[in-house]
Symmetry: C2
Subunit: 505 residues, 2 copies
């Protein structure tokens, strides 16, 4: 979703090496902390950030130009997120402990005593995002979930907000050390070369990334081509199609137009869940209304010069596609920061068939406040069209208030395909604004992510940094405390007694 | 773990294409079967295989030369495995349904209604293994778990047992079709080129493989370099170190020598969990006793000519390492099948430091009945040595009957490192013989597997073929049955009511 600016300060190779060494040394110790003290350490980080909210927000306002209220809310989201992972650890079921007691009468012959739980992968390299200077940056969801899993984190800062990153990192580091975590549990590096160096290093066991398809794919390829490949949890690009039924357009067209404009221009369109394309039934007049509303949205500063430049180039590409009409051209305005501010841009691609024909340009994410509208006929095969769209984080469906009869019958196939090509299907709301809850899924087929089975938002994000280990026939005193007979840590465990066919979770 | 012979019949490209088309067409339908009918279909496959056990075993005896009793047991393991996945589906908790009801008072602002569950990835390509002609072949664990997840399976047969594969495939296909599964839910292809063609095809959504490091890495690289990369669950090579404490050697040296020889020569050493290296305290005399016992093991036919050839080459490499002494050379015998039979081979690498120095050869898996012994001094840093070994499926530790005092203190660090570099730590038993149970983990860091967070044995293997999808604010009638308010399928679900901080599983 972002492009990296060139002026990034590079952490020297020797310092990257020192950080990696410290992380590798910290990994066994931090990884063996019991869930509850680890939860306390995460809470201490949250407390430290909460206490410094004013300073953090001030730094981020200067660097990103985002509104103070939005940034204050984002610090809160970041600390709530850290506390949710702390609660997850206190609950302990995320360790998924399963004990099969030995069973001489097991179906396939005597079964030994087997005890399985999840352990941390080891040092995690996290590439921070541009667009959430707190919630997906230094102390964001990737860091929180990796630390909760027991992985030390080496954080590669985003060049869009270096001072905010450094300030946050200092708070995270001292809170962790203050809670007794070993040196090396958290460090910050900067610079593209430093990030690549760390990604290639055998001491790094996993990586997480939020950014552009081009940048993310290059890093994924590095992770996959290492002598020992590692998991790479990349969140790259997503077009997030939104589809409006004829019934919805008739019933609440104005509300939909307002909602769409609000969503695709939120944060200057620099959200990974921005709805980039809107499919409307033909002849509603809504495209013009959407354009009118978009014209009324004040210009907003882009996050970085690089993002603004790439956004501008993409506007030109979109406008040059055959059959595309520019509804609103998206003016650029000077900003005291030197980084351009932009007004929303809106394109009309004509019939959905044209969208499909030129999908390489029209259905490729444009990071910024632009969107493409296309119109369909009621007998167009929308599910087929949707299936041809590349993987997305979300698909949004706008229905009438009580979808039934013909509308519901048509929607059934569409919703099924929406679930096949995305990770979240949103009804009658908009995809921006991702709730941090247990049932959340923020992921999807490539290029939305490089790891389709995982989420980067919500408590399930911890799964990315864990792996199973089973102990067979172990003397009790040699087991980790969590797996001993007496269960001294009081963790939730599934225990399959002899004769049980076996429960799994 | 295997090498592919060259005489493999190639499924023509047009037929591979037809199979992929059928799988892609079947995927939405098979993927939407409710868990219980899907369980019935798996049980029907198990029934069909059970009923044909005699024919299946006869075919496999001819093709593999494995003993009839072993193969009969393996058919049973295969069908028990299918029925375990059927039971898992009947239980339904593997779908991990979590419902967060909308909550206007949620910590970060109003939370919408979110419902998360797991859905199948889509068509899975399964490369069968050489060494388990049933349990890890056509209807083996990969196939059973992918089908249970709701993924159609395209099975690339192993050339070591083509007739057995075809016979099994016909039974699987007709049992599935008989249970009402769509055409394309299961098909078989043969040949290396056919497998690679399928792996590159955009209709394939995931792949599983059991085989050699060289072959598996080549396929992993193809999967990772696709325009849309897919998950590749490869189980490649594993050295499976076994370590004997001085106390254990004193207390039950003879039993350990017998157990080790039994384990590394089982199935002519062609198990992925074969203990390939044994670390003994110096001066026990056990190396000679192990060699004596190994000499008494009758020759056994290798699985394929290719495997036998590679095994023979590797014996030469091992014998040529500086400081290595051949304790038993591993004679080759003619077999009526034309594929060589071999006696066990045993090497003494001297002190563990020599093992470490030449680890590229000595600690590289040799698929067949060979093993390497090394001796350590009590003050050698065994944990450090173990940490330098590449990722393994297992580490085995032989202790005294009641490890305490000094032995236990020394073991604590060793066991911790064992869990870091493997997926299963075995005590006072041997790693061959992998129980199929909920707490089992058959996986490990690269090169043991290419996906460290997953297992290929045990019910958790289903997780490889599932991904989450969340529905936000969906009208009840547009939700999958499993997620509707009335829970018409009666599935286990976690429901977080307003005010709940949120449970996750």
């Amino acid at each position: 979703m972002t492009t990296v600016d060139s002026a990034e300060h590079e952490t020297p190779a020797a310092e990257v090496d020192r950080c990696l060494d410290a992380a590798a040394t910290a990994a066994p110790e931090w990884g063996q902390w019991a869930p509850r003290p680890r939860a306390e350490a995460l809470s201490a980080v949250a407390d430290a950030l909460d206490a410094a909210t004013a300073d953090l927000v001030a730094a981020a306002v200067t660097e990103t130009g985002l509104p103070e209220a939005r940034l204050t809310g984002e610090v809160k989201r970041t600390t709530v997120q850290l506390r949710m992972f702390a609660d997850l650890l206190r609950d302990g079921s995320c360790l998924r402990i399963v004990i099969d007691r030995s069973d001489p009468g097991y179906a396939l012959g005597a079964r030994p005593d087997l005890r399985r739980w999840l352990v941390p992968l080891g040092p995690a390299l996290v590439f921070a995002a541009s667009n959430f200077p707190f919630a997906f940056s230094v102390a964001g969801g990737d860091t929180a979930s990796a630390l909760a899993a027991g992985c030390p984190v080496l954080l590669k800062a985003h060049p869009g907000h270096p001072a905010t990153s450094r300030l946050t990192a200092d708070l995270v580091r001292s809170a962790l050390l203050g809670a007794g975590a070993p040196e090396g549990t958290f460090d910050l590096i900067t610079g593209r070369d430093a990030g690549v160096r760390a990604l290639r290093d055998p001491r790094v066991a996993a990586a997480a990334f939020t950014g552009s398809v081009a940048g993310g794919r290059a890093l994924f390829d590095i992770a996959a081509s290492r002598p020992s490949p590692i998991p790479f949890f990349g969140e790259l690009g997503s077009i997030n199609p939104a589809i409006v039924t004829p019934e919805a357009a008739r019933e609440r067209g104005e509300q939909i137009a307002e909602g769409f404009v609000g969503s695709f221009t939120l944060g200057a369109g620099q959200f990974c869940t921005k709805p980039g394309v809107l499919l409307l039934p033909r002849g509603t007049g809504l495209p013009e209304r959407v354009a009118e509303l978009a014209d009324g949205v004040p210009p907003a500063r882009m996050l970085t010069t690089g993002i603004a430049r790439r956004y501008h180039e993409r506007l030109g590409e979109l406008a040059n596609v055959a059959g595309v009409k520019v509804l609103t051209s998206g003016r650029e305005h000077a900003d005291p920061s030197g980084i351009p501010a932009v007004s929303p841009a809106l394109f009309h691609a004509g019939p959905v068939q044209n969208l499909h024909e030129h999908r390489d340009v029209l259905l490729d994410e444009n990071f910024g406040p632009s969107a493409v509208i296309a119109e369909y006929e009621v007998d167009d095969a929308l599910p087929g069209l949707l299936a041809a769209v590349a993987g997305s984080l979300t698909v949004t469906v706008q229905t009438s208030n009580r979808p039934d009869g013909e509308e519901r019958a048509r929607l059934a196939a569409l919703v099924e395909v929406a679930a096949r090509c995305s990770g979240r299907v949103v009804f009658n709301e908009w995809p921006t604004g991702v709730a941090v809850t247990p049932a959340q899924h923020h992921g999807g087929p490539y290029p939305a992510t490089t790891a389709v089975s995982h989420t980067s938002v919500g408590t399930a994000a911890i799964e990315r940094f864990l792996r199973p280990v089973t102990y067979q026939n172990a003397p009790d005193a040699l087991l980790p405390l969590a797996l001993r007979d007496a269960n001294p840590l009081g963790l939730p465990r599934i225990v399959n007694e002899p004769g049980d066919s076996g429960r799994w979770r």
